[in-house]
């Protein structure tokens, strides 16, 4: 029995998640007017209107999607970070100004450029798209941190937003942002990076909160359903852990 669970735990989880997502999607679609409620995450509130403030002040928004690529373990984290950049690009598309998105991975840079371009395509003003908005200032986490420090020190940046794959090198970027008194939003899955950034900003997206960006910022039904499904699966796993613990004690 244990061997079976060990071998197929991933598949069972996937099927459970898929089934729950379908159920919640059907439920939310049926009661479309009554959207589900999720706990408030203040960091997402900070994002709203940022692009407008950047346009008014004539300064840039820097969005870092981290050092992860889209062909390895960090794919999901990078895509979650990209959701924030895409949301800001959507806000900016009408004005012809895009946030500066930076990364240290070549594959992520291509996807980021495409994500920034997409809102311009949707709104029919591709001609206004500032090419090269997705930047690749260095290849590798520590050189990237150094290059981002240089960017924050020399470019007119209004807010520093970091959401993606980061390690302890985030402290270098954080120092530059603090030297320039920049407000910051930070989201990561790595506890080292989170520990570092917890000292500097109150706008933190801790682990799972980062993956909920699309659901919170766009509130589309499939994303809301997937968030609710993840919540339920989490509760199921917690109950199983508690039961296993109790069973271990009773043995």
């Amino acid at each position: 029995m244990n061997d079976f669970i060990a071998a197929y735990a991933g598949l069972i989880l996937l099927i459970l998640f898929g089934a729950l997502l379908s159920v919640f999607f059907a439920t939310f679609s049926r009661f479309g007017r009554k959207r589900p409620h999720f706990r408030a995450i203040p960091a997402f509130g900070m994002l709203r209107g940022q692009m407008g403030r950047a346009i008014e002040s004539g300064r840039d928004l820097h969005v870092s999607i981290g050092t992860g690529g889209i062909s390895g373990d960090d794919t999901a984290t990078t895509l979650a970070g990209l959701a924030v950049a895409e949301y800001l690009a959507e806000e900016a598309a009408a004005s012809g100004i895009a946030p500066i998105v930076s990364t240290s991975d070549a594959t992520s840079a291509i996807v980021a450029e495409d994500a920034l371009r997409r809102p311009y395509v949707r709104q029919g003003n591709l001609g206004d798209f500032p090419r090269g908005a997705a930047r690749l200032p260095a290849l590798g986490p520590v050189p990237y941190a150094a290059a981002t420090m240089d960017l924050l020190n020399h470019d007119p940046v209004l807010t520093n937003i970091m959401s993606g794959t980061f390690g302890a090198e985030a402290a270098l970027i954080d120092q530059a942002a603090n030297n320039n008194d920049l407000p910051q939003l930070f989201g990561a899955a790595d506890p080292r990076a989170l520990a570092v950034m917890a000292t500097s900003t109150d706008h933190l997206l801790v682990g799972e909160e980062m993956y909920a960006a699309k659901a919170y910022l766009r509130a589309q039904l499939p994303h809301l359903a997937s968030l609710r499904a993840a919540d339920v699966v989490r509760i199921v796993i917690v109950i199983l852990i508690v039961l296993a613990f109790v069973a271990g004690l009773l043995k």
């Binding site: 197929y8 989880l13 996937l14 998640f17 898929g18 690529g69 062909s71 794919t75 999901a76 984290t77 895509l79 979650a80 991975d105 070549a106 594959t107 840079a109 291509i110 495409d114 997409r118 395509v121 090269g132 930047r135 690749l136 200032p137 290849l139 520590v142 050189p143 941190a145 290059a147 240089d150 020399h154 470019d155 302890a168 090198e169 402290a171 270098l172 954080d174 120092q175 899955a189 506890p191 989170l194 570092v196 917890a198 000292t199 500097s200 109150d202 801790v206 682990g207 799972e208 909160e209 980062m210 993956y211 909920a212 699309k214 994303h223 997937s226 499904a229 993840a230 699966v233 796993i237």
Partner: protein, 207 residues
């Protein structure tokens, strides 16, 4: 017609490739799937290599633009160094005179080491900044645990180690619980993103 290439085809290709790779992990006994996975991974490696080359050109272009716009003089140094190192490594690839090891040992390792050393100072500065900015019980807890972890890492005397180790063990146990909760959330978040990409709810690769 354009939509087929920019939207439909990338979504279908991603979906099929994703399912095949997923199935190959779930059913490792089916050799055809494992073989297909190897082919798909090789294709992904080739695409990633091309992306790396494009990325390098993009990196040079960015630093050239920043230098021309007088945003940063450091960009000129970065540009110059990148070109020199690239040329040296390409020559080394064919003549094999050990330049790659030299570049890594003499340039990259010391510079990254220096930045690593700087990191410890920045971390200390961040801790002080936190104590000044946010005077809460959470901050006290954070700083006390950081100090105890630091002292127990390199204990000044054996007596101090004996006294502080049980406290360190308590902090370790608490941190481990928090860490597991965090990792559980990350795993579920990853699962949700993967599921959405696989079923084309999210399409980061297409319009």
């Amino acid at each position: 017609m354009r939509r087929i290439f920019t939207s439909v085809a990338p979504t279908v290709i991603t979906g099929i490739a994703g399912f095949l790779v997923l199935l190959s992990f779930v059913l490792p006994q089916v050799e055809v799937l494992v073989g297909l996975r190897a082919i798909l991974i090789n294709i992904a490696i080739i695409v990633a290599s091309i992306a790396l080359l494009l990325g390098f050109a993009r990196l040079l272009n960015l630093h050239w633009l920043r230098f021309r716009q007088r945003r940063s003089r450091v960009s000129l140094i970065a540009l110059f160094t990148a070109v020199v190192v690239f040329v040296v490594l390409v020559i080394d690839r064919f003549s094999n005179f050990g330049a790659a090891a030299f570049v890594f040992n003499v340039l990259i390792v010391p510079i990254q080491g220096s930045l690593g050393a700087l990191l410890t100072i920045f971390l200390a500065a961040a801790a002080v900044r936190m104590a000044r900015r946010r005077r809460t019980w959470g901050t006290v807890w954070f700083l006390v645990s950081a100090v105890i972890v630091l002292i127990t890492q390199i204990p000044p005397t054996e007596g101090a180690a004996n006294i502080l180790q049980p406290i360190r063990d308590l902090f370790n146990a608490l941190a481990m619980g928090g860490l597991r909760g965090l990792l559980l959330g990350v795993a579920l978040g990853t699962l949700a993103v993967a599921f959405r990409v696989l079923f084309a709810i999210d399409r980061p690769q297409s319009e």
